[in-house]
């Protein structure tokens, strides 16, 4: 492309004069084209190109750079549709923080543009500001959709926009665009039939065309070819409007876009509309104008209606389907496929046929690790497996189209596998998927299944149950001992997915033991306490019991339509309740005695694998007298940590620490027992606004206490305050040592909590002197509220009770707490139970 000749270049070296000559030459070139009625796309592109050269020259002359800088054209300039008197919109991006040298550079760069008489709109940003881009000014986001490099470092734009969450940014851009269109149309009374239209702003004008193009660019580049007026009509409309606009700028000698009656005549003449009179020419011009405006309007309406919603990288929702924007790109990125199914589950819709066809065509090219290149992708699989309506349907699609088997080759081994027995009516793969359907149906179960549905809602990690269900029968590719083979195959998957120890433990337990509960419930005498005791020993803790119960229910039901009868459900539920009661009410009697055969295997392992700084004797001494469920609750590393922290812990000494556990927090306290200890700990957490979700307190006969609380920090105190955990621990220690009055700290919060409390269900307080040899057990089910645990445990301590063991659980809005109490070392008498129950009811009802 040749530069127009300029006399200034030839006559002198003054850079300002050279620049002015260049801009005047460029303007003259565009003006000439506009006069001929030829100021359309090509002429504007040429003018934009001339402007680029000037900007590049100014950038080069602005002085040395201390860091990477990029200058990007935005808006109409970015689209290379710069008109004669348009603003020149620029984005100047700095790679790092902007210092004084950079400011000097900016002055040197921008001032000459002003001197040239150009109107510039400039944004100056640092790349790191891009992380918050999704929250930026919506008009800036819109301008960014046309950004292109003019001078400097081109990569900075990708860095700038890449740091933010693209889907959110796209969605916000679209929302902003829709709002701006509505607002702009309202200014024109929502009609395109204006006698003196603004060719840029009016309905059917250039902004509407740009709006339709932007919607397509952000959602689906093929959109405008699929409906509305079609690409050709839009192309013609754009060319026409740009030519008219160029004439308007030329005639008005300023940024003017209104096609007034006077300018209509001049435009009609310049554009060569036929007619013997100016009026006839104008009529033809305006007839063409309205034809093009209607075409734009139709396409914009189509785009607004049919535009898919961006929901993820290369993913959109279109109608009731999820699809890839760019199928070719998706075909080579198997790690993105899971997101399509996740989006379908989230949106309660399906995955499009073209996505499924793409997966079917390409799945065979990939190895399992290609689906999970990072932790984010591995976590995404677990997130997908959370039971909810639609999970069976999506997993079935993944299986039918070859993705599930490529991703989890163990599952492929049972594809269409037929195992003939008296009961099963479906192939092994379908039986497996049906177990997951049965599980998801529990979430919407009627009254007859509500009890099981509630268990499912209570699970902390229901996705692990689904993962276990997926693997429980994979061993059936062989004919014998399928649960052993299934577990072996599951361990392969653990390695690939890099599951943590807890998840591995849970899934392997469920896979190996998945037949045990049906055997116990349907073939053993569950009225025999020994059967329940043995089963309790197998599951160990309530979470595993709930999972195994649900797994059994789902598994039996998936055998055939007739297998799971209400009668069997009753048997299963009875075993669940009896085992649950055993686990929560009788565990206090089952304490660790390293000499006992039942405990020896676990303790032997702990001792064998101990770190060098711990002796076997030390570990045994620590464990002696703790409830046996302690060993089920803690990993080896946690036990070793407890042993270390309990070393030489005298009266009054406290070991306390706070750790983050995903979205929750965990407080552990190891100390010596003292009156009101438990209520003080729970009260301090409440005084910081923490919502205690679950936990437990163990007290050994020698007075050593191990308490652990899981809580959510709803006010984000720990997140927002550096050192907040140390502050919490300091308050806790002060309260326990009697230096701080907890009642004063809690007063305001408790009053607020009582004021906000909604009428809920009546609290249940149940005293039990039968289930444990050593303790009176108090079970409390009440509406969860701030400070509830503190008030209950305080009432117990005030009634002279020692709180020896506690299990804390929160299920939805219900707090379910089990306290093991003694009074002066013995169980509570009937009179003492009545007195305590009365006190607790009073506290729970908020009475003084």
């Amino acid at each position: 492309m040749a530069e127009p000749q300029s006399s200034a270049i030839a006559t002198g070296p003054d850079p300002r004069g050279v620049r002015r000559a260049r801009i005047e030459a460029a303007r003259a070139e565009l003006s000439a084209a506009s006069e001929r009625g030829d100021g359309g796309r090509q002429a504007l592109k040429q003018y934009s190109h001339r402007m680029d050269a000037i900007v590049q020259q100014l950038f080069a002359e602005a002085g040395p750079l201390t860091q990477p800088v990029g200058v990007f054209a935005l808006g109409g300039y970015g689209r290379r549709q710069l008109c004669l008197h348009s603003d020149i919109d620029l984005l100047v991006l700095f790679g790092g923080p902007i210092g004084s040298e950079d400011e000097r550079f900016l002055h040197s760069f921008l001032n000459p543009i002003w001197d040239l008489g150009l109107t510039i709109g400039h944004h100056v940003r640092e790349v790191q500001e891009g992380s918050n881009l999704a929250e930026d000014n919506p008009e800036f986001l819109l301008a960014l959709t046309d950004a292109r490099i003019v001078a400097g470092d081109a990569t900075l734009l990708d860095e700038f926009t890449g740091a933010t969450e693209r889907t959110r940014m796209r969605k916000r851009t679209l929302d902003a665009l829709r709002a701006l269109i509505v607002e702009r149309h309202a200014r024109f009374n929502d009609t395109l039939y204006q006698l003196e239209p603004d060719v840029k702003e009016a309905p059917g004008g250039l902004r509407d065309l740009l709006g339709a193009q932007t919607i397509a660019k952000v959602t689906d580049p093929a959109l405008l070819g699929q409906g509305g007026s079609g690409l050709r009509a839009l192309d013609e409309a754009e060319e026409f409007l740009l030519r008219v606009r160029s004439i308007l700028h030329l005639e008005a000698k300023r940024h003017h876009n209104m096609l007034s009656h006077e300018l209509q005549e001049r435009a009609a003449a310049r554009l060569g509309f036929p007619g013997s009179t100016p009026r006839q020419q104008v009529e033809r011009l305006m007839s063409d104008y309205f034809r093009h405006a209607r075409a734009i309007d139709r396409s914009l309406r189509w785009a607004l209606k049919a535009a898919p919603t961006p929901i993820g990288r290369n993913l959109v929702r279109s109608g009731d389907e999820i699809r890839f924007v760019d199928l070719r790109k998706a075909a080579d990125q198997p790690e993105t496929w899971l997101a399509a199914f996740q989006a379908a589950l989230d949106g309660g819709c399906g995955v499009s046929d073209e996505v499924l066809a793409c997966i079917q065509q390409h799945a065979g090219r990939f190895a399992p690790q290609d689906f999970f290149p990072s932790k984010t992708h591995r976590d995404a699989l677990l997130a997908l497996l959370k039971p909810r309506p639609g999970l069976y349907a999506r997993l079935s699609e993944m299986h039918d189209y070859g993705m599930l088997g490529q991703m989890l080759p163990e599952f492929k081994a049972i594809s269409c596998r037929v195992v003939r027995d008296f009961y099963h009516k479906y192939t092994v793969d379908e039986h497996t998927l049906l177990t997951i359907r049965n599980l998801e149906r529990l979430l919407e179960a009627g009254p007859e299944r509500e009890r099981f549905g509630r268990l499912l809602n209570e699970l902390e990690a229901p996705e692990l149950l689904v993962l276990a269900l997926l693997f429980h029968d994979v061993g059936k590719w062989r004919d014998d001992n399928h649960h052993v083979e299934s577990a072996r195959m599951a361990r392969q998957m653990f390695e690939r997915l890099q599951l943590d120890d807890h998840a591995r433990g849970v899934v392997e337990f469920l896979v190996v033991e998945h037949l045990r509960m049906s055997v116990a419930a349907f073939r053993r005498d569950t009225e025999d306490p020994e059967v329940v005791r043995q089963f309790s020993e197998l599951v160990g803790v309530e979470e595993r019991l709930k999972m195994l119960c649900l797994m059994t229910l789902a598994d039996v039901e998936a055998v055939s339509l007739e297998t799971l009868t209400p009668w069997r459900e009753d048997l299963l539920w009875r075993l669940y309740v009896d085992t649950y009661n055993h686990l929560t009410l009788s565990y206090g009697d089952e304490v660790i005695d390293p000499g006992q055969p039942a405990a020896s295997a676990l303790i032997t392992d702990l001792i064998k694998q101990r770190p060098p700084d711990l002796s076997a004797k030390e570990i045994e001494a620590f464990l002696q007298g703790l409830p046996r469920r302690y060993l089920q609750l803690f990993s080896g590393d946690a036990v070793y940590s407890h042993v270390r922290r309990s070393r030489g812990l005298g009266p009054g000494a406290i070991q306390t620490w706070v750790e983050r556990k995903d979205a929750e927090w965990e407080l552990t306290v190891i100390t010596r027992d003292q009156p009101f200890l438990f209520s003080n700990i729970s009260g301090v957490l409440s005084s910081f606004g923490m919502d205690i979700l679950r936990g437990f307190a163990f007290t050994k006969l020698d007075g050593l206490v191990v308490d652990m609380f899981h809580f959510s920090d709803q006010e984000r105190f720990l997140e927002m305050n550096k050192g907040g955990d140390a502050q919490l621990i300091k308050v806790l220690e002060d309260v326990i040592r009697g230096k701080t009055d907890l009642a004063v700290r809690l007063k305001g919060r408790e009053e607020g909590a009582f004021r906000r409390r909604l009428p809920g269900f009546a609290p249940v307080v149940h005293c039990d002197n039968e289930s444990s040899r050593r303790f009176t057990i108090v079970e409390i089910v009440a509406e969860n509220a701030l400070g509830l645990l503190y008030r209950m445990s305080r009432a117990m301590s005030e009634s002279g009770c020692e709180v020896d063991l506690v299990l804390i659980a929160t299920e939805g809005q219900r707090a379910i707490d089990v306290f093991h109490l003694t009074r002066q070392g013995a169980k509570l008498s009937p009179e003492q139970q009545v007195e305590l129950t009365t006190n607790l009811q009073r506290v729970l009802e908020g009475r003084p």
């Binding site: 349907f522 053993r524 005498d525 009225e527 009668w567 009753d570 009875r574 309740v577 149940h766 079970e779």
Partner: protein
């Protein structure tokens, strides 16, 4: 001929079936039932709340036998189903007057 109807604990069905097979009795009908006798159900507690389990799951085994082997069958059932605890179940022996084969309509009078 007699109809022997035994109500037993669910976990005892296989034992009863095996005991009857040992004395060459193989045809039988097994049904899941709920009910209570002297056991009268019991009160269970779940999460501090009491609920009454009035109808307990049981299995009903029905077998029609010639009079000559009824006593042996009853002994076999008792031997297999007995735990000595409340809730072991009941056996009823009922006279059968006549029977019909559905396929042929043939009547058999005893």
């Amino acid at each position: 001929m007699k109809l022997v109807k035994a109500i037993v604990r669910p976990n005892k069905v296989d034992d009863v079936k095996n005991a009857l097979e040992k004395i060459q009795i193989s045809g039988m009908t097994v049904t899941e039932v709920r009910g209570h006798g002297k056991q009268k159900g019991h009160t269970a507690i779940y999460r501090g709340q009491e609920y009454n389990v009035s109808l307990l799951p049981k299995m009903e085994i029905e077998v029609v036998l010639p009079d000559s082997i009824v006593d042996d069958a009853v002994k076999a059932i008792i031997g297999a189903a007995r735990t000595g605890e409340i809730g072991d179940g009941r056996i009823f022996v009922i006279p059968v007057g006549e029977s019909y084969r559905i396929r042929t309509g043939e009547k058999e009078v005893f």
